[in-house]
């Protein structure tokens, strides 16, 4: 059996069998699902408890506008009373209207012995605002001004369509493309950081355990390094697949349980369907669904795998070389920090590139190998010229192979060097060792 395979097997099985890995892999989807579902669930249970709100309207013009809903019951009262604010009172808040609001908006105040609930405040503001607007419009004396203004303000959304010279067209959605691209970007970023660091830990473990000398007398350092990098990548794949499957199951189960309520609230439905912006009115949902179906899926999937492999190889080799060069965890930071900064820069560049996917920042950072795996993924859903994709991939894999080669050389010398922390200059010198 090939020795690299034996190493891959060990790196994989020892990590996957660890209790911490099993716990993290199983619990994280529950946590994520809880993060999504619990707020929705809380939003639905709140309505069970109807609160009383006293209305003290000295003008008598506004009290009738407040309609009871699931959260609040509005009870008119002739006068304010101290008993409303006692500890054992079931009154949540008191709305005091002291005069004509069209003249002075400060004539209304909401009192409560606790903080005034935000939804009550916004409901009252809306109701009164609307009435004041009507009153003011009526005061102008122009007939039908109401409808004229409504007509002027009617909102419309511009559908976006992607077209080519041949006349093909498909519904596209900028928002959906943004979300899809950023999702892939974030997965690559997360994976490279987490598992790259794991490669470094693994190498340092072997070095500090002093097992290296034994290992390199049975296997070539390059085989050992590649075995570790590939083995850990497989651990990552396993984790991501389990997370994806578990999360999908959990969300669909929870979604089914909350189905009735979520159908009633479009924002919730949208959150369930993958974090589309709540700003989109329900009428756009169908268009969004069409846009999701029209994304360049095959291109995205293939490019994701390509950039994923290239980016991981590039960074993991680098991390392996760092792990081999240093003797202690603390020493690694002088090499790792600049790289983490570059990755963070890539993440920010990706965020800004969403705004302008063909701008110079997006263009250059999607060609630069250290940031291209992160940035290119947000551009692909919007369509990227083939030559840019190819150039970026060639640059990425070229530098990944270079870093692997250099990393392997540094690794080979570094793993047997104990004692003081090496400088960059010494590490470059190691490249020339036979």
């Amino acid at each position: 059996m090939n020795k690299t395979l034996i190493v891959i097997q060990r790196e994989y099985t020892t990590r996957v069998k660890k209790k911490s890995f099993i716990l993290l892999t199983i619990l994280t989807p529950f946590l994520l699902a809880a993060l999504i579902v619990v707020p929705l669930w809380l939003a639905t249970i709140k309505s069970d408890d109807q609160q009383t709100v006293m209305l003290v309207d000295q003008t008598g013009r506004y009290a009738g506008l407040f309609k009871d809903d699931a959260s609040y019951r509005y009870v008119p009262s002739p006068a304010d009373s101290a008993s409303f604010y006692s500890e054992d009172s079931d009154v949540e808040a008191v709305i005091l209207i002291r005069g004509d609001l069209t003249r002075n908006p400060r004539n209304v105040v909401i009192c409560s012995r606790r903080e005034v609930p935000a939804d009550l405040l916004s409901y009252a503001t809306n109701v009164l605002n609307e009435q004041v607007r009507r009153d003011k419009l009526a005061a102008t004396g122009i007939n039908g001004l109401d409808r004229i203004i409504e007509d002027v303000q009617s909102e419309f959304s511009i559908p976006t369509v992607k077209r080519t010279a041949e006349g093909e067209s498909s519904t596209s959605s900028t928002t959906v493309a943004m979300v899809a691209g950023f999702l892939f970007t974030f997965v690559i970023y997360f994976f490279v950081m987490t598992y790259g660091a794991m490669v470094m830990q693994g190498v340092m473990e072997e070095k500090t355990n002093r097992i290296m000398e034994l290992m390199v007398s049975s296997i070539k350092p390059f085989q050992l390094m590649m075995g570790k990098i590939v083995g850990i990548a497989l651990v990552g794949f396993t984790q991501i697949v389990i997370w994806g499957v578990l999360l999908a199951i959990l969300l669909s189960v929870c979604g089914g349980m909350l189905g009735i309520e979520t159908a009633a609230s479009p924002e919730a439905a949208m959150m369930m369907s993958g974090g589309m912006p709540p700003a989109a009115p329900p009428s756009e949902l169908d268009e969004a669904a069409a846009a999701i179906l029209n994304l360049p899926y095959w291109e995205m999937a293939i490019m994701f795998v390509i950039y994923f492999i290239g980016g991981y190889l590039l960074y993991a080799s680098f991390f392996a070389a760092v792990g081999a060069s240093v003797n202690e965890q603390e020493d690694s930071s002088q090499f790792v920090t600049p790289v983490v900064l570059i990755m963070l820069f890539g993440l920010y560049a990706a965020m800004y590139s969403i705004e302008n996917t063909d701008g110079p920042l997006a263009f250059w950072s999607s060609l630069f190998p250290l940031t291209s795996p992160i940035v290119m993924m947000v551009r692909i859903p919007f369509g990227v010229p083939l030559w840019q994709e190819l150039l970026s991939i060639v640059l990425l894999f070229g530098s990944a192979l270079l870093v692997t080669w250099v990393g392997a050389k540094i690794y080979r010398v570094g793993i047997l060097m104990y004692g003081k922390k090496p400088t960059l200059k010494e590490m470059l010198k190691w490249l020339r060792y036979k």
Partner: protein
């Protein structure tokens, strides 16, 4: 003599210093070869070259009669001076892993390991994590891993360090048993007493060069000092110019003990005849130099004097 491993004119330079300067050694088949030298002399570098961990700048290595190839490392078992295994892995699991890296199949590795674990009485450690074992126990495990794939060449770097005398004795027996089975052993140590007990041949490296090599007995007789100790029951010895000189004389319980220095020209039998004429001999013994003395004499000649304790690592 049939040489299993020959290294010729090995040169290895690092940025600041030369680790090995035209070093040649010949390790005979089926013998224990002692690789001696003070700290930093270049022993570890030579061992790493023999293990193909690093390559020499020039020179060649012949392994079992053919030029050294990458696959030859499968035929080497190496116990490094820096011991170390995966601390978090179970003992049996990692022994199987390391054996598989040396080319054994899974089943073969398990059956051989079980044999060795039973032999050392450590079968109950199989499913324990390495970090739960004491240092001596870990060393036993590492020794088993070194010899498990039955390599033709075994390299032990300071094998006895960290062992109590009982376990060191067990290990010594195992090493000699492996030699008797036909394995060739390279044995690197600072402990000169163990060299006399175990090694057949030695090479002493100092300042990146081989300064002394050959059969242990030859080396010792080459460094004969011409000193003799004899005990006798009657008679007296006086210095005889041109033949011998009495260096020391003591008497106790009716026994006289003399330390003589023989003149180089005189043979042993002539000396024996001379003294036998004067005294009633009880014993007559040539003082062979110990390896410790030879080491100190050769290495100490061009180095600052080494304190006794530091040598006995």
């Amino acid at each position: 003599m049939n040489e299993f491993l020959i290294a010729r004119h090995i040169v290895k330079r690092y940025a600041q210093h030369t680790a090995l300067d035209d070093v040649s050694i010949a390790v005979p088949q089926g013998k224990v070869f002692g690789l001696l030298g003070p700290n930093g002399a270049g022993k570890t570098t030579l061992i790493r070259i023999i293990n193909r961990i690093t390559a020499p700048d020039s020179g060649e290595v012949l392994f079992d009669g053919h030029p050294f190839q990458a696959d030859d490392v499968m035929n080497i078992g190496y116990l490094p001076e820096e011991r170390g295994l995966y601390k978090k892995m179970k003992v049996g699991e990692q022994a199987v892993y390391l054996a598989r890296l040396k080319g054994l199949s899974h089943a073969e590795a398990v059956s051989r390991l079980q044999h060795w674990f039973r032999k050392f009485g450590i079968m109950e450690w199989w499913n324990r994590k390495l970090e739960e074992l004491s240092k001596g126990m870990q060393q036993k495990v590492q020794f088993i891993i070194t010899v498990l794939h039955k390599p033709q060449l075994l390299i032990f770097d300071e094998p006895f360090s960290g062992f109590d005398p009982v376990n060191a004795e067990i290990l010594k027996r195992e090493i000699l048993a492996l030699r008797d089975e036909g394995h060739t052993v390279i044995f690197s140590t600072h402990n000169m007493a163990s060299v006399e007990e175990i090694c057949d041949e030695i090479a002493l490296i100092n300042h990146s060069k081989v300064v002394l090599s050959g059969n242990v007995n030859d080396v010792r007789s080459r460094h004969r000092s011409g000193l003799y100790e004899l005990t006798c029951t009657a008679g007296q010895l006086q210095t005889r110019p041109g033949s011998y000189e009495v260096l020391r004389h003591s008497s106790a319980d009716g026994l006289d003990t003399y330390l003589l220095r023989k003149d180089a020209a005189l043979s042993n039998s002539a000396l024996a005849a001379l003294v036998a004429a004067d005294v009633e001999l009880r014993s007559f013994c040539e003082q062979m130099p110990s390896m410790q003395e030879i080491f100190l004499k050769v290495v100490g000649a061009d180095a600052p004097p080494v304190p006794e304790a530091a040598n006995d690592k």
